[in-house]
């Protein structure tokens, strides 16, 4: 951990429930979810499409109030996005502002935080370098490929030196090779900065590879099926970690939890 990094935070969700209005009254999407995310850990949340993963993340980040239950960060209930949040949206392309170049996109949150110009320059450059985009800072988001836009979104999150980093299916729409690279990027970022990380995904292998703990969602409405600890060593490596017999066991365990 470098000296400028913020101390990581602990997140807890208690009886978190989300219902949406629908034509025939109310539809319950998440039902009494309770789990915790220890400070400094990487936790992945896995569930099938439509399980309410995005809704859950919007509650955890304070973008949306749950219909019932509560979300706490370091034992303080959150009702709006907290300071020290870094977030990468499922529609990362739409989360970047097309009228601003890459550098300005990454810089804007820092300006709102009131950080001085010199410090901003340093933060923006170092986080763009971390995701390997230092030579693209003058381009516009729509001039970049999907995977590159994704990395801009990650750089924007990193520049804020977040206490907690949340990502919603961050690698769902990139090719396999880029996906592996980005997964390793997340692990590297975590080992450098030590923040709490929450990754939402529908990919079982990815949820294991990235995390120290997997929260499995399932059912209609979704409930927490199981919380599985992942004991695989760090640093992880695509071929050897995935080849580890323990990885296979965890995968089987997750499969059956999802099937149940």
């Amino acid at each position: 951990m470098t000296s400028t990094d913020a101390t990581p935070v602990e997140l807890t969700a208690t009886d978190l429930t989300v219902t949406y209005p629908s034509k025939s009254g109310q539809v319950n999407v998440l039902d009494k979810l309770t789990f915790e995310v220890p400070a400094g850990e990487i936790v992945s949340i896995v569930g099938p499409s439509g399980a309410g993963k995005t809704s859950l993340l919007r509650c955890l980040s304070g973008l949306m109030l749950p219909s019932a239950g509560r979300v706490e960060i370091d034992h303080l209930e959150i009702k709006e996005p907290p300071a020290g949040l870094g977030i990468v949206f499922q529609d990362y392309g739409r989360s970047l502002f097309p009228w601003m170049d890459v550098r300005s996109n990454v810089e804007l949150p820092l300006r709102s935080m009131g950080i001085s110009r010199n410090e901003r320059m340093g933060l923006v450059s170092s986080s763009l370098a971390e995701v390997g985009l230092e030579s693209f800072e003058a381009l516009y988001p729509w001039q970049l490929s999907g995977g590159m836009q994704q990395r801009v979104a990650i750089a924007r999150a990193l520049a804020c030196r977040p206490k907690v980093l949340m990502m919603d299916e961050p690698f769902a729409s990139v090719d396999a090779q880029t996906r592996f690279d980005l997964e390793d990027l997340v692990l590297k970022v975590h080992s450098t900065h030590g923040m709490t990380v929450i990754v939402v995904t529908h990919d079982i292998d990815e949820s294991i590879y990235l995390a120290q703990r997997v929260v499995v969602l399932g059912g209609k409405p979704s409930t927490v099926r199981e919380v599985i600890r992942v004991g695989l060593d760090f640093p992880r490596e695509q071929i050897s970690t995935r080849g580890n017999p323990e990885f296979g066991n965890l995968r089987a365990q997750l499969f059956s939890a999802l099937r149940r």
């Binding site: 980040s61 973008l63 996005p81 709102s112």
Partner: protein, 262 residues
């Protein structure tokens, strides 16, 4: 690079040929006496009338009157629609409550109010200007509301998650999202406003190009009448090009991203 350059050249040449042919048709028609000379003046007499207008004080003041009512009317309508539109666009409830009113008032032809405006303001500055405000506020309002409602919800989530200040959200998210739609609205409102100005002058008799043409006609001065009509067309083109240019300057990302012809 070169091929687009060549294409542009070909395009310009063809367009130029079109103009030349149109003018030739005019000359041939007048030579062959297809048209009554008195009511259809020759190209040369129209052209000299065109140049003569600029020396006439009454023409210059008519031009100034038309342009100033147009600009003031459009500016006021823009201010009103930004004010009301940003309120109606940002609150779903306000929008629901008021869209019927907008839908009812929008189709009322603004020129129907010329008599009322004449009663209230006579032939003063505010007669045409008031009509322009009433007429152009609808396209502007509709486009402001559409622009605000069209702000990307994911982008809005980002601005909230990263705790952008109100000023930054407005400056870097809302404004840039609304501008493309607003520029479209302005272009529509610009030519509508000119049409309303000319009509108010023509029917209501306030000073301006519309009135100028009406006076020329009743005095059977056809060459100057043609000249002023052509001049008004050129103003229309200038207004269109002005907004096209502004749009390219103000919302370049929109043009580059979507190749919008606007």
């Amino acid at each position: 690079m070169t091929s687009t350059y060549i294409k542009k050249r070909i395009r310009a040449t063809t367009s130029f040929a079109g103009i030349v042919i149109a003018l030739l048709v005019w000359v041939i028609a007048e030579d062959a006496r297809l048209l009554p000379r008195s009511e259809f003046p020759s190209l040369s007499s129209t052209a000299s009338a065109f140049l003569a207008q600029f020396q006439s004080a009454s023409f210059v003041s008519a031009l100034a009157a038309t342009l100033s009512t147009w600009a003031v009317g459009l500016a006021v309508a823009l201010a009103i629609s930004l004010l009301i539109g940003s309120f109606l666009g940002s609150s779903a409830r306000a929008f629901r409550s008021s869209w019927l009113i907008v839908e009812f008032l929008k189709p009322i032809p603004p020129v129907a109010l010329i008599p009322l405006a004449l009663l209230l303001y006579g032939t003063s500055f505010w007669m045409p200007t008031g009509l322009i405000i009433f007429g152009t506020v609808w396209p502007l309002l509709v486009h402001v509301i559409a622009g605000i409602r069209g702000v990307d919800p994911v982008a809005l989530d980002s601005s909230r998650a990263y705790r952008l200040t109100r000023r930054h959200t407005l400056r870097y998210l809302i404004l840039p999202s609304v501008l493309p739609s607003l520029m479209t609205g302005l272009r529509i409102a610009g030519s509508l406003g000119l049409a309303i100005a000319v009509t108010a002058e023509l029917i209501g008799g306030s000073t301006g190009l519309g009135n100028f043409v009406a006076l020329d006609e009743s005095a059977s001065k056809y060459a100057p009448m043609y000249a002023v009509i052509i001049f008004t067309g050129l103003i229309g083109i200038a207004i269109n090009s002005l907004f096209k240019f502004l749009s390219r300057k103000i919302v370049p990302w929109h043009h580059e991203r979507f190749g919008a012809s606007l």
